[in-house]
């Protein structure tokens, strides 16, 4: 049921690598910075306590690369919102905490899980990524990596740009393409 790979599904961006485990939501955006509906304000404080220079260096279309259990802690959706607002087109992680993972997809920020295999992606490398197919090419050193694929319901949410558009379109949840369901 996977969609055929298409040229425009590929993203190209520059990597920012923090290969640390358990980067929690407070380090993605501190609680004191979340009490706002102004997305540009959130962007300014993305990863503030982890790397105060990140928000300044981040460019639109860049890619964040992180370790295990990224986004553990709070349910704050401001965490993926801040990263997206700071320009991140995608987050590649060894694994993600579950609420962060859902929140990212729900706001239309693709997240790819690459597991524990060693990789040589370094800050400044240019990556080309087909998020739906789970293919990552590091154009700076020629290495390629594969990521786990999203379940169909999450792909559907992501394709429309997030859960708001999904529910506007379908009016309710549907589980097409799952075992035991019609597609």
């Amino acid at each position: 049921m996977t969609a055929p790979p298409s040229g425009d599904a590929a993203l190209r961006g520059v990597a920012h690598v923090y290969d640390l485990d358990d980067i929690d939501t407070d380090r993605i955006i501190p609680g004191k910075r979340t009490k706002t509906l102004v997305v540009a304000d959130m962007a300014r404080y993305a990863l503030e306590d982890l790397d105060p220079g990140f928000a300044r260096r981040a460019q639109a279309g860049d890619i964040l690369v992180v370790g295990r259990n990224f986004g553990c802690g709070s349910s704050r959706e401001q965490a993926p919102m801040a990263l997206k607002a700071a320009g991140m087109a995608l987050v590649i992680g060894r694994s993600f905490a579950r609420i962060f993972y859902r929140n990212a997809i729900n706001i239309g920020l693709p997240v790819l899980e690459i597991g524990d295999r060693p990789h040589a992606i370094a800050t400044g490398h240019t990556l080309e990524v087909d998020a739906e197919a789970g293919r990552i090419s590091d154009l700076s050193d020629g290495m390629t990596y594969s990521a786990s694929q999203l379940p169909r319901v999450m792909l559907d949410i992501l394709r429309g740009g997030g859960l708001v558009n999904y529910l506007v379109k379908y009016g309710n949840y549907r589980l097409l393409g799952q075992p035991g369901e019609d597609s």
Binding site: D21, D22, D24, D26, R27, P30, G31, K32, T34, K35, T36, L37, E48, D49, R68, N69, C72, G73, S74, S75, R76, E77, Q78, S95, A97, R98, I99, R102, N103, N106, I107, P151, V153, G162, L163, V164, L167, V168, N172, Y173, R174, L175, Q178, P179, G180
Partner: protein, 419 residues
């Protein structure tokens, strides 16, 4: 789910509760669309949920009697920006006719349980990561973000993957001076901050059968720090002010992991900076100098927690140069503690009371630590920057350990400070 060969195993609590809400028998690994019994959002997550609900085309929430909005994360408002967000939530609650708890009523999770908005066997979504707390009631309660919550407000349903379950059997009786917080911290250290990611955790054992609701809430609450989708406390021995039908796992339920943890000689536990999984027995950190203590949060600020602190602090004074901030979990708890003299004992010892609510646990206001300061707290997270300053160090412990430590000016064993 049975078949003549007997090959199909029994069901976990999570599988039973989700099956009852999906309209079909489901097992771990399946994706389902499930009916929801209740939802709640706070001032940290509600405003974004209201915006998303409106963007989804939402006009009326699916069932206002099943929706609660709470002002607890930054309440009373520390500035005009937050005050305006509070105003937005008040207006939405008025328009929709849903339950609404204004500043000072208390922390969302306590209010959901105290006011019976969540009951045993429910499937509940909360836009706060400590929503698994209601597993103390034997409810499947799950934390979500604002947009998922908006989807639930619109449809009364959500999609989810039925989780595998980790079973934790506690063996032995809790030694005196050891609390549910110590057990929970020990388990977070054992399972790890990611160990239960995407999974449910069932807690069982004779020590739990003797627990009242409050320590059960402490235990379920810290399932969040294992990354769990939900934490479910065995309902055996649970008494509630109303009748309920407990959901127990089948004897042959299938678990992904079963841990037996002997708590018979457990020591008080402390989580060191900067992770709730960085846990050690108190003996490894005795004497660490502290600047402040905090008794509060959805983990440990109920009546039994305040009384445990008062037992140690009554008739004594905080160590010179040390401060203690207390945020009772709810106004109801505050009023009980006022009536029975607990508040007076703590205040006379030098504690500073702040309104019922999340207080400094979320680092927004009411006690942000200074650079280089060390805080010992009854809360659930000690991430770098959690209390509002990345240059502070936070230790997590039980109310008794916090009380002993603010007396000593350093991390101290309550059995030594106040035998």
């Amino acid at each position: 789910m049975s078949n003549p060969s007997g090959a199909v195993r029994g069901l976990t609590v999570a599988e039973k509760i989700i099956s009852a809400h999906a309209g079909r028998a489901v097992r771990a690994g399946e994706l389902v669309i499930a009916r929801i019994d209740g939802v709640m959002a706070t001032d940290a997550t509600g405003p974004l949920a209201i915006v998303a609900f409106s963007e989804m085309g939402g006009k009326r929430v699916w069932d206002p009697a099943k929706v609660s909005l709470i002002l607890d994360h930054a309440a009373p408002a520390p500035n005009e920006r937050v005050s305006n967000l509070h105003g937005m939530m008040r207006a939405f609650a008025r328009e929709q006719g849903c339950h609404f708890y204004d500043i000072g009523a208390g922390i969302c999770h306590q209010l959901m349980v105290e006011n019976e908005h969540v009951r045993p066997g429910d499937l509940f979504l909360g836009a706060d990561s400590h929503t698994p707390t209601y597993g103390a009631l034997n409810a499947f309660a799950c934390g979500v973000g604002s947009t998922d919550l908006a989807g639930a407000l619109l449809t009364g349903r959500t999609w989810l993957k039925v989780p595998e379950t980790i079973r934790i059997n506690l063996v032995g009786r809790m030694p005196s001076g050891v609390t549910a917080k110590d057990v929970a911290l020990k388990l977070v250290g054992l399972i790890g901050a990611e160990g239960a990611n995407y999974r449910a955790v069932e807690f069982a054992g004779p020590a739990i059968r003797e627990m009242s609701l409050s320590p059960r809430m402490t235990l379920a609450n810290l399932a969040s720090e294992m990354g769990a989708k939900t934490g479910l406390v065995d309902p055996a021995g649970l008494t509630l002010p109303y009748d309920f039908v407990p959901t127990s796992p089948d004897p042959d339920a299938e678990y992904c992991v079963i841990h037996s943890v002997d708590i018979g000689d457990l020591r008080p536990q402390v989580a060191r900076p900067h992770s709730p999984g960085n846990v050690s027995p108190i003996d490894d950190v005795l004497g660490v100098r502290i600047d402040a203590g905090f008794i509060g949060s959805c983990t440990n600020a109920r009546l039994d927690d305040l009384r445990a602190a008062a037992r140690i602090l009554r008739g004594r004074r905080l160590a010179a140069g040390v401060r203690l901030i207390i945020a009772p979990v709810s106004r109801r708890v505050f009023n009980h503690a006022l009536a029975d003299g607990t508040i007076a004992a703590l205040s006379e010892a030098g504690a500073t009371f702040i309104p019922a609510g999340c207080g400094p646990c979320v680092g927004t206001h009411e006690g942000v630590p200074g650079d280089g300061e060390v805080v010992i707290s009854t809360a659930n997270r000690n991430y770098q920057g959690r209390m509002g300053n990345p240059n502070a160090q936070i230790y997590l412990a039980s109310p008794a350990v916090v009380a002993a430590s603010v007396l000593a000016g350093a991390i101290a064993d309550p059995a030594v400070v106040a035998p």
